[in-house]
């Protein structure tokens, strides 16, 4: 065994209340081993304690953390090692790669300078030697023109390249263990695939062990030998990957496996973890959609450009959206898929005129939205609404939920009196699955999923016909995602809403959409029904997108 974690407990001091120190227990007794030359994955949703567990190994936790238990590495208990011993191990025997590469690299030093640091410190190299070795490392992680890149600063590289640099830094002293904390979560799907393959290749070449932390079971299934499932600070289940996927024992693990939207099957409603754990089964009967429903929204040649200043008086045009066409029928859902920079979010905001478009037309109910005057535009706001991505930023932190819900009604003069508006607000809260007592609470008292429901309720106060969902579930955990997606489907069935669902996650889009638009660099690359896109993608890019999606554990062909 390379690393053995035994009964690890981590608590954070939260300050004194009435003279008594308050503690928050993030990890409550976790034990598992990391073998030599093996990959162990720590899986869990947010708040499960997986990152805290991994960071405890090298004690990279904040000052107010208290650890207890044993962390045995090569016969030595790291928990009780002093700082200089730990510093000798860090970067040399055990190295780390973190989630956000842009923030994790020092912005004022060049890539080369940062790469050379561990080489000079741990291997005692001279600067010139270290520089040459750094160049070789960059080449190994697949960075083109490594000599030139050594002198570059982190912000000059793309997200994927930054992560490769982080990996190079971690590998520089040939560590025996690599701790990777959600290394691909912040990256696009196609880049994610590249980084995973890189890590796998390097692991083989250097005979390294990897401790991989992730929330994505699909990802974990593809790369891990051994899986440890955590929830709320304890280990629910652990074992070889094949067993975990084929024959899970724990109810939570089973629920986690069942609740992911699959590319293959398409249930009417996703399973939610709690429901699954209580033994309910998935609903497969979906209400059929009317293929001849009237066209509600028709977009022709929509374009949006931004102008950037270059030089003294010159401006450069950046075309974020170029020539997008589609039709949305009443009661249907149009899914828009693309990676970052594809222009999908800009397009969504332009539909609502939150960005002013540079060209094209959007016909809604016979009128061109882009040429409305102010009064008509205000009227239009009632009929098309939007739910944003970040649930932590889309609600005003200083408004109570009640104030948030009542404001749109007051602006558009819905409801005859304040009492009636309060009534509607409370009824809407219950409709989205929240308790009516939420009315007087502030957003920070709710979780991400609950906040998204409040945002949806806010849209519903205006009784809209079209809802634009801009990455509305991307920031949520799997289980919560399932709940919100189910809610959206329920609302669509009940109220006849039409959705434009924007996302980078093809599996989610597949679940909720009838028709799918694939965007890249501002253009529509492919457009087809959801089944067609999956079964028979026509374009190369679409195929690449599909291929990049982690599929979970696929047993090797016999």
């Amino acid at each position: 065994m390379l690393l053995s974690i035994q009964d690890l407990r981590v608590a954070f001091r939260m300050g004194k209340v009435d003279g008594v120190m308050q503690r928050f227990e993030a990890v409550k007794g976790v034990s598992f081993d990391v073998p030599e030359n093996g990959t162990v994955a720590l899986v869990g949703e947010s708040g499960s304690g997986k990152s805290v567990t991994a960071m405890s190994v090298l004690n990279l936790l904040p000052d107010n953390a208290e650890r207890s238990g044993k962390i045995v590495y090569q016969g030595k208990d790291l928990l009780h090692a002093d700082l200089s011993e730990l510093q000798a191990l860090r970067g040399k025997d055990i190295a780390c790669v973190f989630q956000d590469p842009m923030g994790s690299l020092n912005p004022v030093f060049t890539v080369g300078q940062q790469l050379c640091e561990p080489l000079i410190k741990h291997l005692g190299m001279k600067p010139r030697e270290a520089w040459a070795r750094a160049e070789a490392l960059l080449a190994e992680v697949g960075i083109p023109e490594p000599k030139r890149r050594l002198k570059a600063y982190p912000h000059e590289l793309s997200g994927g390249q930054q992560q490769r640099v982080m990996i190079a830094m971690a590998l520089s002293c040939e560590p025996k263990l690599l701790i990777a904390d959600e290394p691909t979560t912040a990256l696009d799907v196609t880049i994610q695939r590249q980084i995973l393959e890189l890590i796998a290749k390097l692991k083989e070449q250097h005979r390294m062990s990897v401790l991989f932390i992730s929330h994505d079971l699909g990802l974990v299934g593809e790369i891990a030998d051994h899986v440890v499932v955590m929830r709320n600070g304890i280990v629910r289940e652990q074992g070889p990957v094949a067993r975990i996927f084929n024959a899970p024992q724990d109810a939570y693990t089973k629920a986690l496996l069942a609740c992911r939207p699959h590319l293959g099957e398409n249930p009417a409603r996703l399973m939610v973890i709690d429901e699954h754990m209580q033994g309910q089964t998935a609903r497969t009967q979906a209400k059929p959609k009317d293929p001849n429903a009237p066209v509600l929204l028709e977009v022709k040649a929509l374009a949006k450009s931004f102008w950037l200043h270059t030089g003294l008086f010159a401006r450069r045009e950046f075309k974020a959206v170029r020539g997008v066409n589609f039709q949305l029928r009443r009661g249907h859902t149009l899914g828009v898929v693309g990676e970052s920079g594809s222009g999908k979010t800009t397009m969504g905001l332009t539909l609502l005129r939150l960005h002013e478009p540079t060209g094209g037309e959007v016909m809604f109910d016979g009128r061109n939205l882009l040429t409305l005057n102010d009064r008509e535009r205000q009227h239009m706001r009632r009929r098309i609404q939007i739910v944003f991505q970040n649930p932590y930023a889309s609600l005003n932190p200083r408004f109570t939920v009640g104030q948030t819900l009542i404001e749109p009604m007051e602006i558009h003069k819905i409801g005859a009196s304040t009492a009636e508006r309060k009534e509607r607000a409370r009824a809407l809260l219950e409709k989205v699955g929240l308790d009516a007592t939420a009315f007087g609470k502030y957003p920070h008292e709710f979780s991400g999923g609950q906040r998204q429901r409040i945002a949806i309720a806010r849209c519903l106060t205006l009784e809209p016909e079209v809802l634009i969902l801009d990455e509305a579930v991307s920031a949520l955990d799997v289980s919560v995602q399932a709940q919100v997606l189910n809610l959206l489907k329920d609302l669509q069935d009940e109220l006849g809403l039409s959705y434009v669902f924007i996302s980078h996650d093809l599996a989610v889009v597949r679940f909720i959409s009838d028709e799918v638009l694939v965007m890249k660099d501002g253009e529509v690359v492919e457009q087809a029904t959801a089944e067609e896109i999956l079964a028979a993608p026509k374009q190369e890019y679409t195929r690449r997108l599909l291929g990049a999606i982690p599929r979970g554990y696929v047993p090797a062909a016999a």
Binding site: Q385, I386, F388, P397, I411, T437, F439, E445, E465, L495
Partner: protein, 352 residues
């Protein structure tokens, strides 16, 4: 477009409880901070003092010369009688000049007239609680009245500066474009001219006096707050909750002052508290230079101005009193501001 949300007769609903907001929660945190509470108590005491002096209940007669010039503080005891004349005073009756003195016939008449008048001459005290200044005025009373003047100037100036800075910063940060450019130009003009020059120039316009000093300081001091408010508004204008407000149809004014301002108010508050301290210190310097409050007013600055010449002669009590009052107030106020900032912070981290 159907809606299933129609009120049938509303069922009995439990009364809605409102959760605590940011300020309420910050207040509760502050109560647990011992240093914060202590400094808050001290500041509150000062505020009470200021209100009392403003109403005239205390320190109204600070100009009365109740003590001997440069009376010593009570705990030091009276000054020893001065070693008197150097020259020997002549003894014996005065020389009789009545034959050459043109006024001689009228002396008797004047003496009779004078006897009819009475002057109240209260005996001058030998010592005063904190000593007396060179005119014999009570230093303790002056210090109290001076507190009112100085703190008043600081607070009023800070409030005015905050109003100007917030308004302009909001407009610049939210709208940008031509409005933003114009306000940037204004900001550049005001910051290009050195502060002291600007103060002196405005003093030429507004003259001396408590209100004038407050206005002058605010006209010079709004720039720092403007910068910060503008940056905050720039940051918040692109946040999603503001976009969401635009999406539901809220007007620009509504978005600026109903949505963004409450999220920025804590920053403004902390900055304003810093301005209070800065302005009080500036007022001291201005009054020293003769540009601050009028001749008929007393402030910590005027006391310090007098103290300089007194110190050479060995009279240190006015300096000590002014410095002590000022130090206690500013230290308490600064600690209170720090505590308030800490109390507001953790809550905000959860909100943002």
């Amino acid at each position: 477009m159907t809606s299933a949300v129609l009120p049938s007769p509303p069922p009995q609903r439990a009364p809605v409880q409102r959760s605590e907001g940011v300020w309420h929660a910050a207040w509760k945190r502050l109560l647990k901070d011992r240093v914060g509470i202590a400094s808050l108590a001290v500041v509150a005491l000062f505020i009470v003092l200021i209100v009392l002096t403003a109403l005239g209940l205390v320190a109204k007669s600070w100009q009365a010369e109740v003590g001997v010039p440069n009376a010593r503080p009570g705990f030091m005891g009276a000054a020893p009688p001065e070693a008197a004349a150097v020259i020997e005073t002549p003894k014996g009756p005065n020389v009789d000049l009545s034959d050459v003195d043109p006024l001689a016939p009228r002396y008797k008449e004047w003496a009779e007239r004078a006897a009819k008048l009475k002057t109240e001459e209260a005996p001058r005290a030998q010592t005063l609680p904190l000593g007396g200044d060179r005119l014999g005025r009570d230093v303790l009373v002056k210090a109290m009245k001076g507190t009112q003047t100085s703190v008043f100037v600081g607070l009023m100036g800070a409030v005015f500066a905050a109003i100007i800075g917030t308004l302009l910063g909001a407009l610049a940060g939210f709208f940008g474009g031509k409005v933003g450019d114009f306000l940037e130009w204004l900001y550049n003009v005001f910051t290009a001219i050195p502060d002291i020059l600007l103060i002196l120039a405005f003093a030429a316009v507004f003259g001396r006096g408590v209100g004038s000093v407050a206005i002058i300081l605010s006209l010079v001091g709004w720039t720092g707050l403007y910068r910060q408010v503008r940056a905050e508004f720039l940051k918040h204008s692109v946040r999603e909750y503001v976009r969401a407000a635009e999406a539901i149809g809220a007007s620009s004014m509504s978005r600026m002052f109903k949505h963004i301002l409450p999220n920025v108010s804590h920053v403004i508050f902390v900055r304003m508290s810093l301005l209070v301290v800065g302005f009080i210190k500036y007022e001291v310097i201005l009054s020293y230079l003769g540009l601050g409050v009028g001749v008929d007013d007393v402030s910590w600055g005027t006391m310090l101005a007098e103290a300089q010449s007194e110190l050479i002669l060995g009279y240190w009590w006015q300096l000590a009193a002014a410095t002590a009052f000022m130090a206690v107030f500013i230290t308490a106020f600064s600690l209170m501001t720090d505590a308030l900032r800490d109390a507001l912070d953790p809550k905000l981290r959860g909100l943002e």
